[in-house]
Assembly symmetry: C2
């Protein structure tokens, strides 16, 4: 297929750039119309690829886009999942070029969503399109189920999957929304951390107060928040919420070896990211901390006067966003209750805290010896000349666990991104080489099933 | 004068509202023209009051407005100081009416700057105007020196005072920029806390990172800031910066009694401000904590994602604004060095901190037995029917210490505000009764000198 891909490369990239120009930010209400536009664009593109029964399915949130081609009688059915929504783009001032005006530089395409997940998702559309063009048919039955709410934790896809088990029934679920170990070294992820996210608002008074007249004599909403948030970790970098680690798998020598096999270049990572030092739970390696250990991270904080110059107030309000990554048998709802209790116990006197749960997702594990995963590894090897590794990924794709459980099918996490591609950050990009090689790999894989 | 004041009341209020409509926010660069407009308006108003030699004097920052009347041969010279600049108005959403569109409600005038300090300053202009109108002359020589940078700690007034000691020479400095104990109970402040303000920026990486891929394995700029800021206070509510309390006067029984004599209604304060509890340094009363003890307050904090919804990042940048109130022999520059050292020692591994000093001011004490202060007390007593108290104020008016030291004159802090008037906060207002009684009190005072 290499030849066909090269022939179409510029045309495919033009189309992908069109997709990336749509600011389909699911988290921000004011982008609702753009998310809808993304869904319609995707539907048209699926039809162009040769898929049938394409529809934009409304939900209580953003729509799901579905299409299929089911004429490979007696053959396996593959369900392709992906998402057309993207993360917010701020801080805008740190982007070298506009996030929704894609540009190609150094054989990379720069835009919000380039690697997460529009670029990776588009690989599957183009693989199907090329196979159809070349053979007039497909080697397998295929279904596309693409959502617009992955970046806000898929609140409407899970119920949809539960309701539409017949429509979605498949032998394999195929997803490209993960990363290589490093450039040239592909990976099939076999574990995803679960997630829990919440926001917290703290209040001490009904108005900000003059720090001269009241300073030193009344609670300060930023002091209280700082004290409360600081209580979430101890000096060893461990999460200090009582019973937080219940359900976390014991770190056996075998697991430690498996995780240790995934290469990690500490000096390179520090250099590239501008880190003076790594940091985390004492007694664990970077791969363990980010792959198989749970975390609690503050994602944002705000309170008091943040403008230019000076405002000598005692702040009356503050807030924080917190998210956890969970592993093993940690249950997000139970962790939420533990955090709630921790906050109750640790909130300083004179502060009122309100809590709001944003998302929750269970951790998931996939058996790397399953034939569908091994065939995926073969396809990578043919294209990239190297057999992929089976790492345990630190991120969460909440819906993977639901697909695996409800459809009872193995999930093949056939990623084509790189961790260095600034996903969720300014200057997100996608390597064009992995876009074209990705199309070839997916073609190989579908033909091998 | 009561009669004359009543005759002119509506006209004076109209003029004050005109003054309040000018958003002369000194802290925000984009308001530079408005600050200039405030200065020109004030100059015209001083001329209207009968003052001479009125000028708008340019500085490296915002202008100083000067005017005088020096024909009371053989009489004392009084220098009136005030400021025509105001605090920023945010958070705008908490104002019931627009901050720069003054309205009168329940015999109060609502606007940013109503009490701090345009309303209080305007009392002096109108007192002079009425005395001139009635007698065609003034009982004392008078100079007005009004600045536009008080809310940013007077960076250009101090050098001006040093350079213009002849121009500003006076027997008494008269300032109305402080508050009553409570409605109906006036106060002449005899102590002001010094101040030191700084901003702090913390960085861990050159970009925000995905909390799935990196969470738990790299430093988090919000965690680091939270840990660092939490180290500034201990469990007793004391400032934990080494040697911070050096130079703080010992709390003698006499001082404790003096401070304790100033009435304070804890339940009323809590109810009015929506406080569940008071909080501060262990072993001290509210009056002591806010009047004669030093403080370190975080005025604002920010970092990571603060938008609507969720963004699962490990933040790479965070920042905070901090200010101290200082007492006794605490030297702001020395305190800055102690804080710098504290930050050096307490910054978590993997975090880089940069520091920027915003303002500094020395504490000041004024002798309440000085005849000029006693005459001021007499004037209050005549108008309000009650002798004022001599409290030690928690706020800072940095220039007071400079006036006292450079001009060698007693400073009479003849305030007409109320602490409940939301200075530096939304819905700032000024009681019209204190505006009119204030004019009468100042007339009485000037005539008594």
């Amino acid at each position: 297929m290499k030849q066909e891909i090269n022939l179409h490369k510029n045309e495919f990239l033009e189309e992908l750039m069109e997709f990336l120009r749509i600011p389909s930010i699911s988290a921000l209400l004011e982008y609702k119309n753009e998310v809808n536009r993304g869904a319609e664009w995707l539907k048209a593109s699926l039809i162009k690829a040769g898929l049938e029964n394409a529809e934009v399915i409304e939900t209580d949130g953003h729509p799901i886009v579905y299409a299929d081609w089911l004429h490979a009688e007696g053959q396996q059915t593959v369900l392709v999942y992906g998402h057309y929504d993207v993360q917010p783009a701020d801080p805008l001032e740190l982007w070298d070029t506009s996030p929704f005006d894609p540009v190609i530089r150094d054989e990379k395409i720069f835009a919000r969503g380039a690697t997460d997940d529009k670029g990776q998702l588009f690989i599957h559309l183009k693989a199907v399109e090329l196979l159809m063009e070349k053979h007039g048919t497909l080697p397998v039955n295929i279904k596309f189920c693409i959502e617009g709410e992955e970046e806000i934790a898929s609140p409407n896809l899970a119920p949809f999957i539960h309701e539409q088990t017949d429509k979605l029934a498949a032998d394999t679920v195929l997803i490209s929304d993960t990363s290589f170990i490093e450039k040239g070294l592909p990976a099939i992820c076999t574990s995803l951390r679960g997630a829990l996210a919440l926001e917290l608002q703290l209040e001490t008074a009904n108005t900000d107060l003059h720090s001269g007249s009241y300073g030193g004599g009344v609670p300060n909403a930023v002091h209280s928040l700082v004290r409360l948030l600081n209580s979430f970790h101890n000096e060893k970098g461990e999460v200090a919420v009582e019973n937080f680690y219940k359900g976390v798998p014991e770190l056996t020598d075998e697991l430690r070896e498996e995780v240790g096999n995934i290469p990690f270049d500490e000096e390179k990572t520090k250099r590239e990211l501008g880190l003076d030092a790594l940091y985390g739970e004492e007694g664990f390696s970077f791969q363990e901390r980010t792959g198989i250990r749970p975390t609690l991270e503050i994602n944002g904080i705000g309170g008091g006067f943040q403008g230019e110059g000076l405002k000598t107030i005692v702040p009356s309000k503050s807030e924080a966003k917190i998210s956890c990554r969970l592993v093993g048998d940690q249950d997000p709802q139970e962790i939420y209750r533990l955090i709630e209790k921790h906050i109750e116990v640790n909130t300083p006197v004179g502060s009122r805290v309100s809590l709001n749960q944003l998302v929750h997702a269970n951790p998931v594990s996939i058996d790397s010896t399953h034939p569908d995963l091994q065939k995926a590894a073969d396809a990578y090897e043919k294209v990239y000349g190297v057999r992929p590794l089976f790492p345990k990924e630190g991120g969460s794709i909440p819906i993977v666990e639901v697909f695996a459980r409800v459809l009872g099918a193995p999930v093949v996490l056939m990623g084509f991104g790189l961790n260095s591609e600034n996903l969720h950050a300014p200057n997100e990009h996608f390597h064009i080489e992995n876009f074209t090689n990705g199309i070839e790999t997916v073609c190989e894989y579908l033909q091998s099933l």
